[in-house]
Amino acid sequence: MAAMVNLTIDGHEVSVPRGTTILEAAKTIGSEVPHYCYHPGMSSPAMCRLCLVEVEGAPKPMPGCVTTVMDGQVVNTQSEQAKSNRQGVLEFYLVNHPLDCPICDMSGECDLQDYVHAEGREHGRGREPKRVFGRDDFGGDILFYGDRCVMCTRCVRFMSEVEQDHRLTVVERGNRSVIDTFFDEGLEGTNWHGNIVDICPVGALVSKDFLHKARAWDLTHTPSVCTSCSQGCNIDLHSRDNLVQRIKPRENLDVNAWWICDYGRHNYEWMNQGNRLDEPLARVDSLSEASGWKDALKGLLDRVDGLDNVSVKAVASPFSSNEDLAALSSVVDALGGGDIVYRSSAAGDEVPLKGFPQLVRRKDLSPNATAADLMNMTRVGADDASGGLESVAGHDGIVIVLGDSLPDQPVDFGENAGLYIYLGTHDSPAASNADYVLPVTSHAESEGTFTNFEGRVQHFDGALQAPGMSRPAWLILGALSAERSSGDIFRCAADAFASVGKQVPAFSGISYDDVGSRGAVINESVSLTGD
């Protein structure tokens, strides 16, 4: 452990490791020193001059973002000098900032707005006409509003230091400086450029996808985990009107730090897809509405009792949560035992983020294949998640499909089955022969956990209201197996998670609290079979 340094910040005694900056040290007492150019994931040029603080004995105010702490130092972030400096710098920003907040996407979550509201002058003194740069299309998902730029150069440094693909630079000098791209293609073809919208402290860099779509204050933020690959990046789903409007990264230094890839960022439209299954269907003569969940499940179990062959073949999905997969596994055991297979698509290449090497867009393009492997489910099919279901399609016992909508399977899928149970969010031609079609909630609508490529169990919350009578799969399957084995039904997701630990040794010893918002790595003695 690094040697500790004791200093005083705003009258509070602080003890931090040697080499910590004043700005980071102030965070430990809950004091945020306003800043633009500093970002913990990148080098600091100390050029916004907003984080200048008063250090007793220093001849000049010191930039908190690069000045490291010293023993016995006395720092004032709230002194007259520090405050008047911030007020001065903020006034300089407003000399040319257009104040077009009413039409700016950043409004409501803008650092310039926040800082000026907190510490700016009541009235501006600028009478001069403002400098105009206009707009520029940077390629990819990025639009640049030059007039709003505060020249913090975070975007330039992200591209050069983190993505390590020098696509942006500052051109010209003085107050004519402006961010620009080198070539016509701009950011087109880079894989992580969406992050520059997140780190832009103002509305200079905005997402074309989100442009004028929603106001920041109307969005509900729900902590979640990205489903686009097995990395398991921590994200927030921003929703309004029961629709996910955008995805933003959520800080987790163990997984994705502050970043996510563009592929994951824009992969959310499926969460808003309509035409959902919203009530349980049961086949009497033809497939028709059952009178509620109780009848449906009771009827289903009665059917099982009448079967000769109760061996089960099930298709699971690596997009289902740990809870759903474990509940499926126990239902299969409770009904008569059998095999579970799953299919997952794989990308040709991994896409690493060079400046933060532990963050990679993994080959495995599903969030929970690791858990499926740990639960002894067998991966089948091709790299585009097709095929491999021949033995299930013609099985004459019980067929269960969970979460895989079988887009590649023909309408005669499951025609020989004694009982065909289809649990999904959307109807499918391959569900034509199903005896029971049970509506489940999607990832965005329910609480649960995923296990990423390295065995980190991470929790996500539901952002959207589930349609109609759809229920989480763990609730439906848990009720079935409880009925069969006269156990307890799961009352909440935490109950379902607790039961995962009992079923699968790798998950034993992890509680919901352990998982928290940062995740917990599963029992390391259990080797991982996933990639």
Binding site: P45, M47, R49, V66, G88, F92, M151, R173, N175, S177
Partner: protein
């Protein structure tokens, strides 16, 4: 000699051969005793050279006046990494034209100074960062460096001493800020000419990330003379705290503007009246900027009390800077002069630090509005307050240079601002 004006008050050490094109030739330079100081330096050893320079009390001629010997002693010994000596020849301060003349007329004096300096700090490579607009100086220097290599004063085993040293003349591309030491390093490395945050200081992490020392042309030109004649000899000129001679670049409303080499501590009025032949047309003195456009302006009364050494200038509330004396007579329009200076700084701000990037341009806008007769008295308070926010709040001191002329002129020539604001009347004809 042909050089414009010479005065009997001058002590010509560095400027002895100004106007003599023969001095550019290496043979002439050697005949006149050139490169003997280098030989003596090798005999003294690097410690000996540093001590001699410390004894002389030579202070950096680029503007800050930091003791050169002390600066050299900051360089790490035996670091095992390459060391660099950088010569700042990016002379761009408005009103300054001494380095250009030193390079034009006596390039080998500079090369010899560089060699001695590099030897003293253990550097293997010298970069002379020369202002791009100095076409003639660049050509003269390039020729001189070629000659020095040919005669064995540069390259391997210099003068049989076993010391190797290379020298590169690098041409700037026309940015004032590249004269700031760390901005110069960035520019030299091929990056944007933006000053770096200090610490780390150049002696620890300088050009190409290696320990570096950077000296002004005039500083390095003084080195051969100090090594030849000793520190005590140099101290016979100038004052106790500001020893030696200094080139004064006098411009503006005097009869004989030009470069004059005088001992430090020379009275400002004596410089104007006796050395420069008095004010143009016998007009009255109005204001003087004694150290280049970045230092506070002084009025005639203060000029009367001012002696031209580092301490004497501070006493009257200004700075010696690089001793570029800009003299203005009663016809000068102070508001216009200040606005032109601020325009320059706004144009040359590198754009990193907010106070400088936004503040310098805004200051220029307000001054232009006042000049056009559309100002208010409140503008003067705004100017004073906002320029105060630009002092000591930025990475380098360019924004301090904006504040200096604005604040000092509003304090000392408030009437001129007010007359423009109230009646739209300009003072003077300029």
């Amino acid at each position: 000699m042909a050089y414009p004006y010479v005065s009997e008050h001058e002590v010509q050490v560095l400027s002895k051969y100004f106007g003599d094109p023969m001095q550019r030739r290496i043979d002439t330079y050697v005949e006149r005793g050139g490169y003997q100081a280098l030989k003596k330096a090798f005999e003294l050893g690097s410690e000996g050279v540093v001590n001699t320079v410390k004894e002389s009390g030579l202070r950096g001629r680029g503007g800050a006046g930091f003791p050169t010997g002390v600066k050299w002693s900051f360089m790490p010994k035996e670091s095992g990494r390459p060391h660099y000596l950088l010569c700042n020849a990016d002379e761009s301060e408005p009103g300054t034209f001494k380095d250009r003349e030193l390079m034009r007329w006596d390039p080998h004096q500079l090369i010899e100074g560089c060699l001695i300096g590099a030897y003293a700090i253990g550097a293997q490579h010298v970069y002379i960062y020369c202002r791009g607009e100095f076409f003639e100086a660049n050509q003269v220097l390039a020729r001189a460096v070629e000659d020095a290599y040919a005669k064995g004063y540069l390259g391997k085993d210099i003068m049989g001493s076993g010391n190797d040293l290379d020298l590169t003349v690098h041409q700037g591309a026309g940015a004032y800020i590249c004269g700031e030491e760390t901005g110069l390093m960035n520019s030299l490395e091929g990056r944007r000419g933006e000053p770096r945050v200090k610490p780390p200081f150049p002696a620890a992490v300088g050009a190409f990330g290696m320990p570096s020392t950077i000296n002004n042309v005039e500083t390095l030109c003084a080195i051969p003379h100090i090594v030849t004649n000793g520190g005590a000899w140099y101290r016979q000129y100038g004052t106790e705290k500001s020893p030696g001679t200094k080139l004064f670049c006098v411009s503006g409303h005097v009869n004989k503007p030009g470069n004059y080499e005088l001992p430090l501590g020379f009275p400002l009025m004596k410089l104007i009246e006796e050395v420069c032949g008095g004010m143009r047309d016998g007009n009255a003195l109005k204001a003087v900027i004694p150290g280049g456009s970045s230092v506070p302006i002084i009025n005639a009364e203060e000029a009367g009390r001012c002696t031209l050494d580092y301490e004497g200038c501070v006493e009257v509330g200004t700075m010696l800077g690089c001793a570029s004396v800009i003299v203005m007579d009663e016809t000068a329009d102070i508001v216009k002069q200040v606005r032109r200076m601020v325009d320059f700084y706004a144009h040359e701000s590198c754009g990193q630090c907010t106070p400088c990037r936004e503040g310098s341009a805004w200051t220029a806008q307000i001054l232009r509005r006042i000049e056009d007769g559309r100002g208010t008295e409140g503008d003067l308070d705004t100017l004073m307050q906002m320029t105060q926010q630009m002092v000591g709040t930025t990475i380098c001191v360019l924004s301090d240079s904006v504040a200096a002329p604005v604040q000092s002129s509003i304090e000392k020539f408030r009437d001129e601002y007010l007359s423009l604001i109230r009646r739209g009347e300009r003072v003077g004809a300029a």
